[in-house]
């Protein structure tokens, strides 16, 4: 029987600030795992450094809290050695798009079959609110001495340009939608990326829950004014459904254009998905035929402490 939702929770005290957007993400992730019925010991959550890095300790699966910026490297290594594991990597936007940006780009090219979730809040929370890579140019969150001097990176655009084959965005206060998004991302065959907008109630006083809800946009008509809207509720079609260059270009272009929307209209949902590009694990199996059935982690290497690998043919070729 698949574990219940509560079994995916640890009893580790959660020390995130009250009202933190991270809670919604960890809840959605636990719900997604439960709904998919993934056995706890068949899943591994890898995390980076910062508030979001603690996520792996709150989830009752294998949990690997790694180094700042390096989470994707650890996660990919585990997945490549053990391709039947469900691997989810999580980290902050500073972690993934600042110090870890090189790994982000390289991971896209590699397209290992796993999921990467960025907790995107525009600040470095745990070090007291410095500007992070997604904070807009000229914005001054409350602990900045002066307005942010750098242009913001576009996580969705960067992911698509790097080769991620599933790119989406969620909002941490819409937990059910995020849960569904995570399920889609995990089930995707290839590297999936989710940019999750996650207000930091302590340090980001600009992109707050109220700001996302569009409270400042409210007008007299009192119509719906949330900045967030869902792509699936529009005619947007994110999927590359057949292999043609023109279709690919069209889907990439529309996703890039969509990713530029901000300010008063912020789309969430799936921007781009393409399963026609092979996952790294499949590419491995192309050159090592039994890689998926007999991956590195499963191979027998010794019998009674005697090595089983037979290199005699290689040695014969070196023999004088």
């Amino acid at each position: 029987m698949a574990p219940s939702l509560s079994e995916y929770k640890t009893d580790v005290h959660n020390d995130w600030c009250p009202g933190c957007g991270d809670f919604g993400i960890v809840n959605a992730l636990q719900m997604a795992l439960a709904e998919m019925g993934i056995e706890r010991d068949r899943a591994a959550i890898f995390s980076g450094i910062g508030c979001s890095g603690k996520t792996s300790h709150y989830i009752n699966t294998y949990g690997i809290h790694t180094l700042h910026g390096r989470v994707l490297t650890f996660a990919q290594g585990a997945k490549l050695a053990s391709p039947d594991l469900t691997v989810v990597a999580v980290g902050g936007d500073g972690d993934g798009l600042g110090i870890g940006a090189g790994h982000f780009v390289a991971a896209g090219r590699r397209n290992v079959d796993m999921t990467y979730i960025i907790f995107d809040n525009g600040v470095y929370g745990l070090t007291k609110g410095q500007a992070s890579p997604t904070l807009k140019l000229g914005e001054k969150t409350k602990s900045l001495a002066s307005p942010n001097q750098n242009y913001s990176v576009n996580p969705i655009g960067l992911a698509i340009a790097s080769g991620f084959t599933f790119v989406g965005r969620g909002y941490s206060y819409d937990v059910r939608h995020l849960k569904d998004l995570i399920i889609r991302a995990v089930k995707h065959r290839g590297l999936s990326f989710l940019d999750v907008l996650q207000p930091c109630p302590t340090y980001n006083d600009i992109n707050t829950r109220d700001w996302y809800a569009g409270v400042d946009l409210a007008d007299e008509s009192a119509q719906r004014h949330s900045r967030i809207y869902k792509l699936e509720e529009t005619k947007y079609d994110s999927k590359v459904s057949y292999a043609s260059e023109s279709v690919l270009h069209e889907k990439i272009s529309q996703a890039l254009i969509k990713s530029l929307e901000w300010d008063t209209k912020i789309p969430i949902g799936i921007f781009y998905q393409n399963e026609l590009i092979s996952a790294c694990t499949v590419r491995m199996a192309d050159k090592i035929p039994n890689y998926l059935e007999n991956p590195p982690s499963r191979q027998r290497i010794s019998d009674n402490s005697s090595p089983l690998t037979d290199i005699s043919k290689i040695l014969d070729s070196l023999q004088i």
């Binding site: 585990a78 982690s297 290497i301």
Partner: protein
């Protein structure tokens, strides 16, 4: 007199110096000789000077000597750079078309060298031309063998009716090799056979080269007499000819390393390339196995991926050099605090920074020992030669698994670019000990459970019931973050205590090797072993007994054992390929004893046994400096 012959081939990078040397080495090895070959090259793809020295001997050899017996050169630079190395009674085969070439016309001769060359030629009263340099050699008792390489090609073209041969200057290497082998009276058949073997995948090329070889070999008869010959000796059974990185590569296959992540860097990436080209492995009584070799975006990713793979229970490693290792140190500490068994094969080169990127150095001993911030346990282990490195690789993986600890396996450029004959590797001498790696788990599991010896049974990602957490923060027994002061003491003590365990449990014979201890005793580590053993033999032949202790386990440092081994030594000579005598510093730190003399080399070129012999001899005769600095080698 026993045969001890050194052959040198040089030429611009990309001109086939390496394959020429490969053919020569194979042929001499097939004729029963021991081979010690070494390649020197610039950080350059095409054009700069590279050369190969192949020492051929009836006796066991472990290094190069100063003198060259026969040099073959099809470019002027080789003559300018090496004419002084050819010993009296030796010979130089050269392209007579080069005779008029002036030193200043060779664009790849750098200014500092050109200045030295001019001073040297001036002092010998020789003009600044190839002829000038050759005359200098001849005046020193060297026989010159001018050959018009161009005429040889023309002759070949005429004989075969294949006009294309006329311009095939890329066969100059094979011509040089064949002339050399003909001159020393080596039987021809092994030559043709090894050309066939080397170009096995390109039959057309093999055929053309064999043709060139036959033609040049028979031409050698017209060259005249040469004082040395290599007629061949009795075959030695179970001998293999190996390149430097084969030891660790084949060791990894046998040890069951199934995951290697790496970022390209000289001189380490040859190993990864070799592993990938043999990625599918034969496994006794089972389906084929494989090594997943992953080229990463940088060395940080290489170590991260390796750790991720190791967490699944896979034996995992990376191979790198100093600059790459520098990038790995943060993650090394992560592996330390999380007790992850990983093996880093560190092929050192000359630093700091990019340093001499294609040259030798043992510069990274102290860096490896102290790598990473914070206190954590690791092992630093060094191999002294290629044969050793095969078995040591097996040991390193066992140490990693048994002590759940990162292991840094020290190799270097001298080892990696050597080509040697040695006894066929015996995989049955490698055993596999996975330590407390669990196959199944019953009941509650705590990854970092307190145990009497500090080592906890190890689960792996995906194992039923074995869920654990890791963190770079301090953690409790489950692996969850803690900042509790008492838990901190428990965990620090648990991790650090295994350093004592390592010293207690690893057999002494694996920690250090004594090749005799005398009044004067040499101490060293890593690849300096080869030149030291040969120098030790030379000293003995001259009635001088000098001891030698090779330290293999550098961290934790076996202070008690080394102290005991060195008890009978009055005068300690520290020999290393670095500037500061890094082993000497470790020795002082750990045993309170300081070397009395240092013989150091940091030119980027490996020590020859000859120069080492000279320095030790001078030390014994009281004419040496406290710190001898070796300089031999172009």
């Amino acid at each position: 007199m026993m045969t001890d012959f050194t052959w040198l081939i040089g030429g611009p990078q990309g001109s086939g110096v390496e394959s020429g040397a490969n053919i020569f080495s194979r042929v001499c090895a097939a004729a029963g000789y021991n081979i010690f070959g070494k390649r020197e090259f610039y950080s350059n793809i095409k054009g700069e000077h590279s050369y190969f020295t192949v020492r051929v001997s009836e006796k066991e050899i472990h290094s190069n000597v100063n003198d060259v017996t026969l040099m073959t050169s099809f470019d002027a630079e080789t003559i300018f750079r090496h004419f002084d190395e050819v010993s009296a009674g030796g010979g130089i085969i050269y392209d007579s078309g080069l005779e008029q070439t002036e030193t200043v016309k060779v664009r790849t001769l750098d200014k500092p060298f050109l200045d030295r060359l001019h001073r040297r030629l001036e002092s010998l009263d020789c003009p600044f031309t190839v002829t000038g340099a050759l005359n200098a050699a001849r005046n020193n008792g060297v026989t010159l063998y001018p050959v018009s390489f161009k005429s040889l090609l023309e002759g070949m073209a005429a004989e075969s009716g294949n006009e294309r041969l006329r311009n095939m200057i890329r066969m100059y290497n094979v011509i040089g090799v064949s002339l050399s082998l003909g001159l020393v009276g080596m039987p021809a058949h092994p030559l043709y056979k090894s050309i066939g073997a080397i170009f096995a995948k390109k039959p057309q090329v093999a055929q053309t080269n064999e043709h060139a070889a036959r033609y040049a070999y028979s031409h050698a008869r017209q060259l005249g007499e040469f004082a040395h010959n290599l007629p061949g000796i009795a075959q030695r059974p179970d001998t293999i000819l190996v390149q430097g990185h084969y030891g660790t590569s084949l060791g990894k296959m046998v040890a069951g390393c199934r995951f290697q992540s790496y970022y390209p860097i000289t001189p380490a990436s040859d190993e990864s390339t070799y592993l990938e080209s043999h990625e599918i492995l034969e496994v006794r009584n089972d389906r084929p196995g494989s090594t997943a070799v992953i080229q990463t975006e940088d060395e940080i990713s290489a170590i991260g991926m390796m750790i991720g793979a190791a967490l699944t229970g896979t034996r995992s490693s990376t191979s790198t050099s100093g600059p790459g290792f520098a990038l790995m140190t943060e993650a090394l500490g992560w592996a330390g605090i999380n007790e992850v068994p990983i093996v880093i094969t560190l092929y050192q080169r000359s630093g700091p920074s990019t340093g001499l990127p294609t040259r030798h150095g043992q510069d990274d001993l102290l860096f490896a020992v102290f790598a990473g911030h914070g206190d954590f346990a690791k092992i630093v282990y060094a191999s002294g030669d290629i044969e050793e490195s095969f078995y040591d690789t097996g040991r390193c993986f066992n140490y990693a698994d048994k002590y759940q600890i990162p292991v840094i396996h020290m190799m270097d450029k001298f080892l990696s670019s050597s080509v040697v004959t040695c006894k066929r590797f015996d995989p049955s001498r490698i055993s596999i000990d996975r330590g407390l790696l669990l196959e199944e788990i019953k009941g509650e599991y705590k990854r970092f459970a307190a145990t009497p010896n500090g080592i906890s049974p190890r689960s792996r990602l995906g194992l039923a019931g074995g869920i654990f957490w890791n963190t770079g923060d301090e953690s409790d027994e489950y692996g969850h973050i803690t900042e509790d002061p008492y838990m901190r003491i428990q965990m620090m003590d648990k991790r650090m205590s295994r350093l004592d365990l390592v010293l207690d449990e690893i057999p002494e014979s694996e920690q250090a090797v004594s090749f005799g201890v005398s009044k004067y005793t040499m101490i060293s580590w890593g690849s300096a072993k080869g030149p030291i053993l040969d120098a030790q033999t030379m000293l003995k032949e001259n009635g001088i007994d000098v001891g030698f202790v090779q330290v293999k386990l550098l961290h934790p440092f076996p202070a008690e054992l080394i102290g005991r081994l060195l008890a009978g030594a009055d005068t300690l000579i520290d020999i290393e390929a670095n500037h500061s005598g890094q082993l000497g510093k470790l020795l002082l730190q750990n045993t309170g004893r300081k070397p009395d003399y240092y013989i150091l080399k940091y030119t980027g070129r490996a020590m020859t046994c000859t120069e080492l012999y000279d320095s030790v001899y001078n030390i014994i005769h009281g004419t040496a400096k406290h710190r001898e600095v070796l300089t031999r080698g172009a």
